[in-house]
């Protein structure tokens, strides 16, 4: 033990000052140890506190609109005209659900297919290349997608797709937003799904191949099921992101608060309602409260998505143990 003491006085262990020093040192170490749980706990509770604070502020500020109108009217009326004191959220709610459903219908299957390709089929350089590009896509700020879409997707939908199916549109609208949001969230869902697949033990693949299954049969019957909890929660997190998406819908949806009657309709989502009406209409007190209520709605729904994702993941994992 005394061997690794650099220089200094050689101790034979009988030097009384050694013991005293160790004791006072231990005292300090334990004090820091006790403090550490306070700092770390404090940081943790700070995060919880923020969430609660946001909920409290949003709820409190929503009270005026909730007092002025019954909840059913707010949620089910399709008239949105703050200047005339009409606060129907239905168009924005339907618009949000429409965009979420369409973009997930396009994005989720694509995400799973690409994830399977990267995790199970691609090898070597191809794999590195494809997964690097997916990660790069996921890191692009969504406003860039909005810009590119204005130049590419909007004319495509307006000049080709809509006329082909006999619809009339400028190219701005629900479908365009859904297409672009699918592109925005798919890389994110792919990355999470690839992680789930790659976390599976090789024995699972070997067991399936070992009885003579093909690679595709192994993917379909075994791997997708075993990685199911992870993939499912990736998709739910994708849902949450589309649901709360702001900038892309604001740029591409056309911003008319009306009930959409087709995918080519212009419309409004809950976040775009806030963005579009925030500046000019905040001077009207009830409008401010109405928009904050929309914010509350968004927070609660997105939180439910995340909570649901975690719950489903845990339950499925317990069932199959992967």
């Amino acid at each position: 033990m005394s061997e690794d003491r650099a220089g200094g006085t050689q101790s034979d262990g009988t030097d009384p000052s050694d013991g005293t020093r160790a004791t006072s040192r231990l005292g300090r170490r334990l004090a820091v140890e006790r403090l550490s749980s306070y700092w770390l706990g404090g940081a943790g509770y700070f995060a919880v506190g923020l969430f609660v604070l946001i909920l409290v502020v949003l709820t409190y500020q929503s009270l005026p609109i909730l007092a002025a109108y019954p909840l059913s009217e707010l949620l089910l009326s399709s008239n949105w005209d703050p200047a005339a004191n009409e606060f129907g959220f239905l168009p924005a709610i339907v618009g949000t659900l429409y965009v979420t459903a369409l973009s997930m219908a396009m994005g989720a299957p694509l995400a799973v297919l690409v994830a399977v390709y990267i995790a199970e089929y691609a090898t070597g350089r191809t794999k590195t290349l494809v997964s690097t590009f997916i990660d790069v896509l996921a890191a692009i700020p969504s406003v860039i997608f909005g810009l590119v879409a204005l130049v590419v997707v909007v004319p495509f939908v307006g000049d080709y797709l809509a006329p082909a199916v006999g619809a009339d549109t400028t190219g701005l609208g629900i479908l365009t937003v859904s297409l672009v949001m699918a592109i925005v969230v798919t890389p994110f869902m792919i990355s999470l799904s690839v992680e789930s697949l790659e976390a599976l033990p090789d024995e699972l693949r070997e067991s399936s191949l070992g009885v003579g299954a093909t690679r595709w049969e192994t993917v379909r019957s075994v791997l997708l099921r075993a990685a199911g909890p992870g993939i499912f929660s990736a998709v739910l997190l994708g849902f949450g992101r589309v649901f709360g998406a702001t900038i892309v819908p604001a740029m591409l949806i056309g911003g008319q608060t009306q009930l959409p009657d087709s995918p080519f309709s212009t419309g409004q989502t809950l976040p775009t309602l806030i963005v579009n009406d925030f500046g000019e209409l905040m001077s009207l007190p009830l409008t401010q409260s109405a928009l904050i209520f929309v914010g509350l709605l968004l927070v609660v729904v997105v939180w439910l998505f995340n909570f649901g994702a975690a719950l489903v993941r845990r339950r499925l994992q317990r069932r199959w143990q992967y």
Partner: protein, 265 residues
């Protein structure tokens, strides 16, 4: 009378990762029908790698090169146009870690049968599932919960389920990779008893690092060391009259550490 089911000819496996590691170096081996061949050797000597190569399981791993040839009843396994899945059906493989497919107990056994369409009716499928679950001494323990997830079983039960899953597709030979090493002693004993009974009707190749297990179960023993076959013989001659110096040292049981090799297999 000893006809050969599986034969390896100059079989070599090289990992081509950051540095090339030749894990199996040109192994020749024949597996006689209806006998249990045990491959023994210290950990890291290439046993598992060799076993997987017999079933072309390295195909799915990047960075692994296999050379040489394996013959299944005389037909090449590597140099052939025959689809790998059909070859793998005929060569069963049970991995070291108990690996339930994420399906019910019933569907784990029915898995291969469904893939290959090896049944005439649902009734026939039921019968086959029962037959193979009985064959691995599992039927009485699970017959009232066939639809429960297989993952709910104990590890020893899962390992026997894996044996049933492999046997159900009627392979010519069954490869078992240290199937008792991840189990508690009592489960290990159960699985070993099952293996002993299966050895009476099947051709089995079993990897083990336990000499005692090889003594108890094997008809033939192959001693693999650093990727090479040092000695192969029937179980009595192998243990009673080892020919090579290294086999003698291994059999007479020096500290296993002396043989341990750092790179895991």
């Amino acid at each position: 009378m000893t006809d050969t089911v599986l034969e390896a000819e100059d079989l070599a496996v090289t990992y081509t990762g950051d540095r090339r590691v030749e894990a199996v170096k040109g192994v020749d081996l024949s597996v006689p029908a209806n006998r249990l061949t045990a491959i023994i050797g210290p950990s890291g000597c290439g046993k598992s790698t060799f076993l997987k190569a017999l079933d072309r399981l390295h195909d799915i791993q990047p960075g692994v090169e296999v050379s040489g040839e394996v013959y299944l009843r005389g037909d090449p396994v590597y140099g052939t146009d025959k689809p790998a899945p059909e070859l793998r059906r005929r060569i069963g493989y049970v991995p070291q870690d108990p690996t339930p497919l994420p399906l019910s107990i019933y569907e784990n056994v029915a898995y291969g049968l469904r893939i290959h369409g090896m049944y005439d009716s649902e009734r026939d499928l039921n019968d086959r599932v029962e037959q193979y679950l009985r064959q691995v001494d599992l039927w009485d323990e699970v017959d009232d919960r066939l639809d429960s997830p297989a993952a709910e079983l104990s590890t020893g039960q899962i390992q026997r389920l894996c044996l049933a899953r492999s046997l159900a597709v009627e392979p010519d030979v069954l490869l078992c990779d240290e199937v008792t090493s991840a189990l508690d002693p009592i489960s290990a004993e159960n699985v070993e008893e099952t293996l002993a009974r299966l050895a009476e009707e099947y051709t089995i190749v079993m990897v083990t690092h336990s000499m005692d297990q090889a003594k108890r179960l094997a008809d033939e023993v192959v001693f693999l060391y650093l990727g090479e076959v040092i000695e192969a013989n029937d179980v009595r001659s192998f243990f009673e009259d080892p020919q090579h110096e290294r086999t003698k040292r291994f059999v007479s049981g020096p500290a296993e550490d002396e043989y341990a090799v750092s790179n895991a297999d």
